[in-house]
Point group: D2
């Protein structure tokens, strides 16, 4: 992608975007066997087949059933299996049992996808704004599950002592970096943040998730944001300096977690060997690339060790708003999925912030079952900003609020430091 | 107490305040038998004897040992038993085993207290500002444990099917209310909040805990705060309306908790009988009194049911700053400890806010072991503001930040609603 | 099968029996998809693919590696995956992670089986008695896993709300019953047992598992054994009579289990509908067929309710020794796998005894790693005797000792009553 | 005690024995503070005060209520607190909450004891055989709780890092050994057992617990029993030889337990220091004294290491029947409670057998609620024979069946080896 194409490309229709999204999902699942697609390594990670089916259930339920008269479910026993957490849609399979669904088969789920895709594309021209908005929501929802599909496969393959590779590792391309604005023009490791009264949060207008709005004012004291994400080399120093064995660096809950789980390095690392397990199998760590697969507790301890702190959500967002959110190292089929050096505020790894995932002032959830979307997860989670190498390009925004509990590590999660000035 | 005395009382010296605090603690423990004082009903609650000893350990360690040359521990095996969580002070008894310390006896702990008190009062005149500041910290710390001593005894007695009473329930006094400013002059159920740029957080100067500062600016959109805390009668309506069985009212984690624990009412309630277990034994609910012993999840669900929301910490604090923080229904030996109707923003129950317990901008923890004080608990907890009927009078401030995990209920915890305007 | 063939069949060679066993295993796996074969519904149940591989690892390790010079493992990373519990053979995959082995694929495991089969058959003619004995052990071991493969698949499919069928249910054949000796000639519900000094346990000579010997004397007081296993109709009466809600009928551990797990019927039953989940999908209960999928605790409670007791191992064994152990309703490809009415002491369901699985007097485990076979499981388990509908015909013996913990239900487990006379 | 006294002592009446038993219990509790008496270090161990109350509840319920017309409970709320496990007697406090009963106080429980004792002694003369049998059962039951009171106090004090002593350690007396028959006349380490058809189990006549009978025949193959229990010195050799780190010595469940719990020595040992925590505080190990506080798994592993095995219950019982069951090192107020060298089959430590605790042939539990006595615990436990240093003298019999789960260690449990001849 380059600036020219971005400028001259014709507007892409909703139908085209729907088709492209649905196609990409199947392409991501292509390297998987029937058994690979059924792996559930832990309750948080879902089988790839479940992602394929759940995203289809979303369209069948909230778009076709509710907006295309006469639609009947493809198989009336399947909604029980593929509803994720919508209480309003009735009983559902316990989350930790998703790996037990050896049937319907991958082929049957693929047929269901085709069936629903055809019905959607047939009905699309007649949709009013409400139905179209739900199609847009379904696309965005499916993009989220594309990222999860990759991170869940990574977790599933990591649970196999043979450490199979999902895909080959492409040579590091230089092309990508041209997209990335120089982090700071002057080569300084810090980038000056905005201060005073700023506005964050999403305006109404283009698509955003409910929790991103409303737009509102916050007051920022002077601060700096690091020009680069913390790298693997930085993290190796933290380990060498006893980072994981110094209780004073850790939050109390974090220290309990480190000892209980025996944590000594980021997830998937073999710190002694200097390798990490990746979608391309076990690979040597790239010292310059952003560290990934760290928890909030690790990010926080690292920041304390480094004499810095995590940025707040607002601090990250106001700077991110000046970057191209579709730039950076994000999910493209042409490139292997892995964090790379040199990126900006979108791509490589989601960055932990020091802000809890709570509602913006004035937040009101959407009406109806779809309203269970994000509001009900507003406890016990921290906000991550930016985008990762597994985030579909085009899915990112400065106002985007990713969120996970402070122990989560199986996503592409990293850290960018901040300091008060 | 009346306004006159408050005005004319001479300034109280540090030594006097130390003595008064140490004496009150022993008075609170007076009704307890040796066995009562050893009860640990759950890992979060500590035995009363442990509170008596831990607060003494705090003075012996951080004041006497560090500031009075030649001090030796009263018994060198005891610090292991009575250190709470200070990693810097070495190994310590696992928290959930505090109930196993049948020895030293209550009498031995009492003797230790006397010994330390005498050493403190002897050394006090010679203390410089650092040591004096640690005495002040020790007083404030002990006041926190006074409240915990009461709530832990309540939890301990509640675990006994005989439901013994800690103390008799005094008749509801009318005197108390004279201290409380009318919640809103005009009888409206809502009180208008400040808006725009306001300052919250503690200034340096008088004593505050580290996490209360620094003072900083925040931007508030227009809002109202309820003139009264949610009452027992309000809560009975919530129950009658299916509050505990309607998933749409709850955060996802909250709904899991309600079902896993079989929650159907506030802690200590017998909803069918209309009673609650209290320090005076089982008592009829006072419909007008603030509801107490509810979790954050319950407070949040109630607010959603009521079409309102929880206030943020800043929203509560700016209004609280206008009230007398030593007023209201707080811990006085003259009155039974229970929430009462008609109170203001200090007293009766701590109020859950919708703000996570995270650092204020610019926060830096104190140096040394004492620096483990609050900063390391900044994850997984929500802020509560105000004060409760078990908070020692004089311990409260508008900037005070109490914090507990969202499932905690054994404190005097309630809720006051807010709404955006 | 008919009596003629049984009588006139020529003696079967070790090689033929090896080939037949290995072929049957693959036939049992034939209806399974790649994903079905990877299902692990609980830590006790292993994926079908794991059974295919583990039995192959057994031959490759203990026969080929140890007795065919120059043998190298087919893949040197696989022993880690497919060792079950042999400490002497080094580290191994945690049991509960067997479902994570999506690779090697089913096809790769199939190729491994073929490779090992060919090597075994090639080497067989040159084997001395030690190696031949290990081949025999490998056959018997694989027969055990054939039964487990079926019961584990049943458990795996039961975890899928769609309740897929492994195989169609063949019509109940009458041919089978001709093999079964009339339980008692006189139509009495009880059959008189031997009394006084009897011998049980296996003699040296033909193949038996180590724990079956040595032959030894035990003294039996007069007793009767029921002529028939407890039936589904009997069990429905037990349920109707409050069997699952009467604490006095249960062992203390059993009653705790019933309440903790919410047990109200045999595993896989829908007692209200009068159905059970089977390898042929959900089916109506046959009232006359033996009840299956009950725990020891349930068997024991039923016996108490019926005014009887469980037989001891010796009581069962001396009567079983008079029956044809290859008769009855056992695993034949021609017939659907399910318990049927009218059977004798071998077939339909394994029968719980009141005897703990402990060593016979004079027991000594085999030398070497293979010696880990049975002795190390002699704690916390009860003996079951006979054979089930999933036990390969020819695998049964009167001296056979099956054993499971008292809560296990996923095998074809039933009960036959006894009484002292 | 000597043979003369035993012969000439006048017969002791039921009332005298009742009084002596009730008095001894109070004497055992005498060194305990109110808080000591409330300690519950784990769910299996009960507070001393609970033992005092529960044994009193037993008499009040099964003797006074059922056999003395007009008896009312001393306090009608207490049966809920002090019923142990009798389902027939209604709801009761959860076992693990017994440590929460700080009230009634020790003094109140003492008063209850006095009240019940007086009522019992008053009514005793008028009792028929049924009531008298229940008094006898109550005495025996209280003797069991005397032993538990001591072992539970030991466990409670062990949970306190200060390791308080219950009582002083008396000098090792030589007097005791005169009571003990020479284990084998010829100085051999092995003692020849009976063989062939022998009778074990209790006859009707004098008092025994239900599970001890009926008397029945068993066949014994030739065997030897060790002349002495395994000693602390033996156990130190086992440790030095890698006993706790050699999986091949252990039952599979035992090995899991060793690793999960990090077991490296008997309970209460500091193996490096060569000490053990005892009722007299931490003491040096006596090399010649029997090892104590070992689990069944440890006993079994030791036997395998020593090239021997555990005796069966019958093997132990037939030899024990020839010894004076009131001899040996048992509970006497004159001597400190600890295992000593040189003892016979009764005293010092209970000996683990290789027999599961199951019913003797022909066993029928007593009628009514008292019938819940032993039968319902017949699963998951192993039999121990003999008596320990904490068993009240006079409570022992050759037919006595003590039983615990294979992981239990807090009793005085040891091991005496056997071998087949």
């Amino acid at each position: 992608m380059n600036q020219h194409r971005a400028i001259t490309a014709p507007p892409v229709s909703l139908g085209e975007r729907l088709a492209a999204t649905r196609t990409l999902t199947m392409a991501l699942a292509a390297p998987l066997s029937e058994a690979d697609a059924c792996l559930q390594p832990c309750p948080d990670a879902s089988p790839a087949k479940w992602h394929l089916a759940h995203t289809t259930w979303f369209f069948e339920t909230f778009v076709l059933r509710d907006h295309v008269p006469g639609t009947r479910p493809y198989d009336e026993r399947w909604p029980f299996l593929f509803n994720s957490y919508y209480e309003g849609e009735g009983a559902r399979l316990a989350r930790h049992r998703r790996g037990m669904i050896s049937r319907p088969s991958l082929a049957e789920v693929r047929d269901w996808r085709t069936h629903v895709d055809e019905a959607l594309l047939r009905a699309l021209p007649s949709f009013g704004p409400d139905a179209a908005a739900l199609v847009e929501l379904g696309i965005q929802h499916e993009q989220q599950h594309q990222e999860l599909l990759l991170t869940d496969i990574l977790a599933g393959f990591a649970a196999n002592p043979l450490e199979p590779a999902y895909d080959v590792m492409a040579p590091t391309g230089g092309a990508m970096t041209s997209l990335v604005p120089e982090a700071s023009g002057d080569g300084s490791p810090w980038r000056k943040g905005d201060e005073g009264l700023v506005a964050i949060g999403a305006e109404t207008g283009e698509f955003t998730f409910d929790c991103e709005g409303p737009k509102h004012r916050v007051w920022l004291e002077p601060y700096d944001l690091a020009a680069a994400a913390v790298s693997n080399a930085d993290w190796q120093q933290f380990i060498a300096d006893g980072g994981y064995t110094t209780p004073g660096l850790w939050l109390s809950d974090g220290w309990d977690w480190v000892r209980r789980e025996g944590i000594t390095a980021p997830l998937y690392w073999d710190a002694d060997e200097g390798t990490s397990f990746t979608l391309a199998g076990r690979q040597r760590l790239d010292p310059a690339a952003p560290v990934s697969h760290i928890s909030y507790y690790e990010a926080d301890a690292f920041a304390r060790w480094a004499g810095a702190r995590l940025p707040t959500e607002a601090e990250y967002e106001v700077l991110a708003a000046r970057e191209n959110s579709a730039g950076g190292n994000q999910l493209d089929r042409a490139e292997a999925v892995r964090p790379r050096a040199g990126g900006g505020l979108f791509g490589d790894v989601w960055c932990w912030t020091g802000s809890a995932f709570l509602s913006h002032p004035g937040f009101t959830p959407a009406e109806g079952t779809v309203g269970e979307y994000n509001g009900k997860f507003m406890s016990g989670q921290m906000v991550l900003k930016g985008a990762s190498c597994a985030t579909p390009r085009g899915h990112s925004r400065a106002t985007y609020r990713n969120f996970f509990p402070p122990t989560a590590r199986w996503q592409y999660m990293g850290v960018r430091l901040a300091r008060s000035r």
